[in-house]
């Protein structure tokens, strides 16, 4: 299974990196979306799958990245703007992390959602106070370059999630998920590790938000901080399965293809299908697509 995972991941990565060479705009768009959701769902998993602190506000990191990027494009090279977006998300997570991570269970879910909405509204206010109703950006790099960057982020997030899981950090986070008091008792610095995971899971989404913005060439706060982004991330990660690094990849793959099919025929069904799939998986397939794959291949 491990070898299969690596072959599958390599095939996806190489395929993704080769697609821009074809010049096929549709395929590139698909790869861009897929890599984006893999990067987001993997990042989310670094905090939420490992510790069980389910964030329903990851759109905030995506939005902050997009915002910083739109403010900086034209001023600095786009690579620097992306890095600044990622850094801003990381810093934001670092600042709010300690108090936010004191809250557990459903309260954490609601708090992260509420915070993301708060930031969205603050940015909307700032923008309208500045008299800006959406910003256009020019001098965007070619779409091929954006696709490469996004695939790179997807790969980076996947490797990052794998590294976290298989490290001492991952062992500590798993202990925190299982029993926080016992973890603290055997020496796990609980508050510090949770903060570390939170910052790690916020960073790449910042760059992802920046890239997504460069693709559309247009920034509008309601869109960049859209809570549907958070819902989609959670759904993909849960449907894919939280127990493996493979899970978010499968979840992103399944949903990107599904929504591709729906957008062309029945776009209004997207949210309904998202909700129904989530419910069905939570009730009947708690280990997600990843668990199904294990079973299909005769393991687990």
């Amino acid at each position: 299974m491990k070898a299969l995972d690596i072959i599958f991941g390599l095939a996806l990565a190489i395929g993704g990196l080769l697609v821009p060479l074809s010049g096929d705009a549709y395929l590139m768009g698909l790869v861009f979306q897929l890599a984006m959701w893999i990067a987001l769902a993997q990042s989310w998993s670094m905090l939420s799958s490992t510790t069980g602190y389910l964030s329903l506000g990851h759109a905030v990191f995506y939005g902050i990245g997009a915002y910083v990027c739109v403010l900086l494009t034209g001023v600095v090279p786009f690579g620097v703007a992306l890095a600044a977006g990622a850094a801003a998300s990381a810093v934001f997570a670092g600042l709010i992390g300690l108090p936010v991570l004191r809250v557990q269970g459903p309260y954490f879910v609601i708090l992260t959602y509420g915070l993301a909405e708060l930031v969205r509204n603050v940015v909307m206010r700032i923008e309208s106070a500045l008299g800006s109703f959406g910003r256009m950006i020019f001098m965007v790099p070619s779409f091929e370059v954006l696709v490469w960057c996004m695939v790179a982020l997807g790969i980076l997030a996947t490797l990052g999630a794998a590294a976290v899981r298989h490290s001492a950090l991952g062992a500590g986070l798993a202990a925190i998920r299982e029993n926080e008091v016992a973890a603290e008792t055997v020496g796990v610095p609980v508050a510090r590790l949770k903060l570390l995971a939170f910052v790690a899971s916020a960073t790449i989404p910042g760059a992802v938000g920046g890239l997504a913005l460069l693709r559309t060439g247009y920034f509008e706060p309601a869109q960049a901080f859209d809570p549907v982004i958070s819902f989609t991330i959670v759904t993909m990660a849960l449907v894919g399965g939280t127990e493996t690094v493979r899970g978010p990849v499968l979840g992103a793959l399944g949903f990107t293809l599904l929504s591709e099919a729906l957008w062309s025929s029945l776009p209004q069904l997207y949210m309904i299908v998202l909700g129904l799939t989530l419910i069905a998986f939570i009730l009947f397939v708690p280990r997600g697509l990843s668990g199904l794959a294990d079973r299909a291949l005769g393991r687990g």
């Binding site: 500590g172 202990a175 299982e178 008091v181 016992a182 008792t185 055997v186 610095p189 609980v190």
Partner: protein, 239 residues
């Protein structure tokens, strides 16, 4: 100064004095018994020492250093680990993973991988969980989970281990084995133990010295023989 020095510790829960001006000195390498009826404050005293509960007044010193106010994880890394009377396994992890986390993060931090493996294997072996190491901790029997508590505490590499009623629910044969295990750990690794136990026989056999608490107060202290002869203890404890 003693290895572990508890000075004038009190703990108030609302109107209840769970601990009232308790002093306790534990020497390095000894097995120290803590006795007392239900609600005497034994678990609360462990929680104060391990950093889970802040004392209302008083201080705890360990190895010459004041540890009052440190977080439980810092205190663990300083070399003290406690078990929980009501077990707290990492239920969804394997038995081995439970113990490994303790070896990674406990006072043995910075060890090489090989010496961590040794710590894990020894901890599992000494409580007899080697055969169940791959199974989920949540699947162990209560007695298994009690032993896992001990294994986890040992794997932190702690110099001082506090065991809270780990023999409750064990049968006489298992208690006998446990007594041997603890005595052997003290001999081979020089671990200091503080033990709370309602199985009085076990406590008397194992302990070098015993402290008796009653309603949060120290009422007797001495060797097992002295405690056995103490009329006051007999009254409040058995009477």
């Amino acid at each position: 100064m003693a290895f572990l020095d508890v000075r004038g510790v009190s703990k108030r829960f609302g109107g209840l004095m769970a601990l009232n001006n308790v002093d306790m000195s534990v020497e390095k390498g000894e097995i120290f018994g803590l006795m007392g009826a239900n609600g005497a404050g034994k678990t609360t005293l462990f929680s104060v020492i391990a950093g889970h509960v802040a004392p209302t007044t008083g201080e705890v010193h360990f190895n010459g250093r004041r540890i009052t106010g440190l977080s439980p994880s810092r205190i663990c890394r300083a070399g003290i680990c406690r078990t929980f009377q009501i077990v707290r396994p990492f239920a969804g992890l394997s038995v081995e993973e439970n113990v490994r986390v303790a070896a990674i993060y406990g006072s043995g931090r910075g060890r090489s991988r090989a010496s961590r493996d040794t710590l894990v294997n020894e901890a599992l072996e000494s409580v007899g969980l080697t055969r169940q190491r791959a199974g989920l901790a949540g699947g162990l029997t209560l007695s298994g989970q009690k032993r896992l508590e001990i294994a986890r505490a040992l794997a932190t590499g702690a110099d001082l281990v506090m065991l809270d009623e780990v023999m409750a629910g064990l049968n006489p044969t298992e208690i006998g084995e446990m007594l041997e295990t603890l005595a052997e750990l003290r001999r081979s690794r020089g671990i200091t133990f503080v033990i709370v136990e309602h199985v009085i026989g076990a406590l008397m056999t194992l302990s070098d010295r015993i402290l008796v608490l009653h309603h949060g107060e120290r009422i007797a202290f001495g060797t097992p023989e002295e405690i056995g002869r103490n009329k006051h203890v007999e009254e409040v404890y058995f009477g």
